[in-house]
Amino acid sequence: MNGSTKEKDDEDIQITKVVFGKTKKPVTWVASSFDSFGPLPHSDQTTPFSKSVSSLPSFSSKKRASTGCSSSVKHTLPCSTDTGSRKRSRDADKRLFVQQALFQTKSSTKTSHSSDLWSERYRPNLKNDLAVHKKKVEEISEWLVKCSNQYAKGRGSAPILLLTGPPGAGKTACVKVLCGEQGWTIQEWSGTSDQAADQWASSEARTEHSLVDTYQSQSQSAVFHNFLLRANKYQALDLTGPSLGTKNDSILASRQANDKKTVIVVEEMPNIFYRDPNQFHDIIRQYKRCGKSPLVFIVSDSNNNSSGIQRLFPKDLMHQLHFDSISMNPVAPTMLVKLLTKIASAESGKLPSPSSSVIETIAVSSGGDIRSALNTLQFACGRDTLDLKAICVVPAKPQLKKHSSSTSSGARLKYGSLKRTGIGEGNHKDDLSLMLGLKDKAIFLFQSVGKVLHFKRGNHMDHQSNPNLPHHLHHFDRDPLLVDPEEVAFKSQLSGDYLTSFLHENYVEFLSSVEDLERAAQYFSDADSLSALWTAREELQTYSVSVAMRGYIHSNSDLTRHDSPRRNHGWLPLHKSRWFSASKQANENVTSARQLFKGYHWEPEVLCTEILPYINLSNPTLHDPGQISFVQEMTTFSRSTQLSRSHLERLNEKDVLEDAEEEESIYWKNSEKKDGAEIEEETNLFSSQSKVQLLQIDENSSDENVVIEEFENEGDDDFEDLFF
């Protein structure tokens, strides 16, 4: 490199010093808005970039890896950060111009790119376009209005909203549309991927100055912290507006913008917070103290990361900071069908539109995920995949029969109904879902336990292939199962151990005779002893859960035939397995017993079965108040004759387990704080009855009411529908 480029380098460095993570969106605050353009001193340099990228392919990775190296380079350079910031203002004018140009190219490429995806192209713009349940839209809208009122009054701390829901339920779209309609400006943090991409992009862009890399990495949490506090203080600098070519204009604009109301939307949490939620909590507390703009957290809850949500947003924190919380449901299938049909017909000019049955299949299989439904639809309509049509149409027919009437009347079209069409058709469905790339749905714990407990049998006559049992084994004869226990176990994504323990907690209520109980309990015991060998535990777990599930199903002698009358036991709430909490508690008790009665140095067994009870009886003078209360606690047993299972232990529809490993390791820790949080969280949960109604996703609120009544009046079938 010659001397002149070296000078340019110096300039670049000054700017790249002030990198903040977030840059993709034009809407951001002053400092960071420079960063993606930092490396571009002049517009005429745009051309060399692409060349240099290809000529130095290994560069970016090398640089990212060597922070130490870059810092040493920094020392050799004469310029420092403060000179840089002084210079920045001077440079800003000319650069803005460049940036402007670049942004436009960037954004234009982006739009042309995004229009390829239907989920982007048909992004809703109006409230009425939203496929989300009206009530939910209303709820969010009300919240925003409330914020607006508060904002106008200019007092009170910042309201915070936690918006949860499955992916693709329209959370973000909803917020964006509503904010747009109510005149809020959105400042968005959308997380880590952007940051990574920016690092990548900017490092690529700077290949020319490979030797003087000055990318300063900041911890994600610091970036997030800065974002929140700055986003609150400063208005966004709208760089994309066509009138803003110069600095003066931008200042003007920001002044105007000062009157605007801003909502801060945080979508993807920096990963670090999942590991260290306390850090996050501190930042949020701080924000609550000094922030003014409403803050919206949008978090997807799925099978995998619900525990993450619980850790990031523990109930006590939410209570303390007056969080509002809105939970979105998956989009109703009827809504989705309407939407898909509309879009398909809009697209039909170019492409032949798929039959309504295909659309229905897609809608049902998407599980309420608009995004994935649209993607699937697009794929299904694509020119290259037209040959799939033939397959699509055939298997979907029986389902149409089932639902065609219901669709029009707005009644139930349910997710998972694919499963109900019987075994023969099921195969077709599998083919179809393979062809269309439909979602492979994981099922929640609640569902999987319910599926096994409320198992169903098919008609024996349909499956003549089953050999008849000899006469002396006749009482073991059962109709074929419609549920595949292994599949349920597989889809539940839980270790067999956990699933078994949840089944165990709940199976008793589903059996009526003591003989059945005896056999089922025996099978559970078998299942557990299968996992006796720790070396083979992993492998045997799948078998052990099979033994437990099939054991229970087979021992249920009430339901040996497909048409056996079901006992009308009403709605049986499912419960959480108590084993884990019990053994945790026991371990804690042992630990505290040992700690409190150190001086006695007895083995824990002796301590708990002999010493402590007699200490309680003989009442020697204990010096430590902790000892006294502990002894009392350890020697009082709850004698309530009722089932000592409160609603605390109810298994909720959306509940998930903590990591298996974590749960186990808790045994040895004293995580009292977490404990408390969990309990509180559980007390705040809806009663399962009200949750049940949420599962019935219908579009009209009047329909919802009807559904609830059905629940109260009808028998089991409705409850069982939950699981199938």
Binding site: D497, H504, V508, E509, L511, S512, V514, E515, L517, E518, A520, A521, Q522, F524, S525, A527, D528, S529, S531, A532, W534, R578, W579, A582, S583, Q585, A586, N589, V590, R594, K598, G599, Y600, H601, E603, P604, E605, V606, C608, T609, E610, I611, P613, Y614, I615, N616, L617, S618, P620, T621, M634, T635, T636, F637, R639, L643, S644, R645, Y667, W668
Partner: protein, 355 residues
């Protein structure tokens, strides 16, 4: 203040009250200045640990009685931190490895290594080995026991092990053959009576003979329990009144109530209730095998002869499962369900016979 159990614990082999012959043997064993690894076994409350401490005192002198409690930390290969409390003097260290559950192997290996690798500085005045006392060896996992057997041989030069357990049936044969077995039988009722009387005399109390016998009977020949009971009685009513019942620990009463519940009614609903109680017992740190034993004892009282065999057979079966498996509740409940089924059949047959 300390409990009588601690207060009147004999500290030298000469002061032991019963099994005096065995005490003499122990003294001879130690006199040589060296002894093999020991495996001390016997029922709970028979005085195993007392004997071990007396032996150590004989060996090392009164220095052994200066005990300190320490927390040791170990790290598993999977980087998990384990904490375990140890009781040690300058000459010995006592640890209960089963405190750390399935990670006991790490503790065994690391701890013994740590102790054994340090030689005594002054071998002329002191023994050239230290003693590691491991309690509840029968609760050790198999892996830990195998680890132990290797460690035992490797560090024979600098350390002796004294293993203490209730039953040798859960100790692997390899360990049993490497140790000198020492069985400490439970004291007889007479011996317990005698000890109770002596202790009461030292306390300045008079204990009627009948009372002493009653307590001894009730204690199930468990000296520790007998002493604790006696002390509890003294607190509740003095002078002792042989007419009054000896108070029992709460969990035993609770367990008896549970057994009554099982015998009263056999239905899924009742099983749920019983399960709740079993959980309650488990959270109060009553070991599952103790629960099983207690339940069996109570349930047998409502059984007639023929049924007893079947019930005991099943109890043994599920107790074995209990030891093998992970989740005690499955097996406890399976036993309860089994008993319910058996008992219900028995009742129904009885009714059929009447008509």
């Amino acid at each position: 203040m300390s409990l009588w159990v601690d207060k009147y614990r004999p500290t030298t082999l000469g002061k032991l009250d019963y099994h005096k012959e065995q005490a003499a043997h122990l003294r001879k064993l130690v006199e040589g200045g060296d002894f093999p690894h020991l495996l001390v076994y016997g029922p709970s409350g028979a005085g195993k640990k007392t004997r071990i401490m007396c032996t150590l005192r004989e060996l090392y002198g009164p220095g052994v009685e200066k005990l300190r409690i320490e927390q040791s930390q170990f790290t598993t290969p999977s980087n998990k931190k384990l904490e375990i409390s140890t009781i040690s003097s300058n000459y010995h260290i006592e640890v209960n490895p089963s405190d750390v559950g399935h990670n006991d192997r790490v503790v065994i290996q690391e701890l013994i290594k740590n102790v054994a690798q340090v030689n005594q500085l002054d071998t002329s005045t002191q023994k050239n080995f230290k003693v590691v006392v491991l309690t509840e060896v029968d609760r050790l996992s198999k892996e830990a026991q195998h680890a132990l057997r290797r460690t035992m041989e490797k560090y024979m030069a600098t350390c002796r092990l004294i293993l203490c357990c209730n039953s040798t049936s859960k100790v692997i044969p390899a360990i049993r053959s490497r140790c000198l077995g020492l069985r400490v039988a439970a004291p007889s009722v007479d011996e317990i009576c005698q000890i109770l009387t002596t202790v009461c005399k030292k306390e300045g109390l008079t204990l009627p003979r009948e009372m002493a016998e009653k307590v001894a009977e009730k204690s199930g020949r468990n000296l520790r329990r007998a002493l604790l009971m006696c002390e509890a009685c003294r607190v509740q009513q003095y002078p002792f009144n042989p007419e009054r019942d000896v108070s029992e620990p709460d969990w035993e009463i609770y367990l008896r109530e549970t057994a009554t519940l099982i015998a009263q009614q056999q239905s899924p609903k009742r099983l749920l209730e019983v399960r709740g109680r079993l959980y309650e017992l488990l959270t109060h740190c009553i070991p599952p095998d103790v629960i099983m034993k207690g339940l069996l004892k109570e349930l047998l009282q409502v059984c007639d002869g023929q049924m007893k065999a079947e019930v005991v057979h099943n109890a043994a079966y599920y107790e074995h499962r209990l030891q093998q498996g992970q989740k005690a509740i499955y097996h406890l409940e399976a036993f309860v369900a089994k008993f319910m089924a058996i008992y219900k059949r028995f009742l129904e047959e009885g009714i059929a016979d009447i008509f």
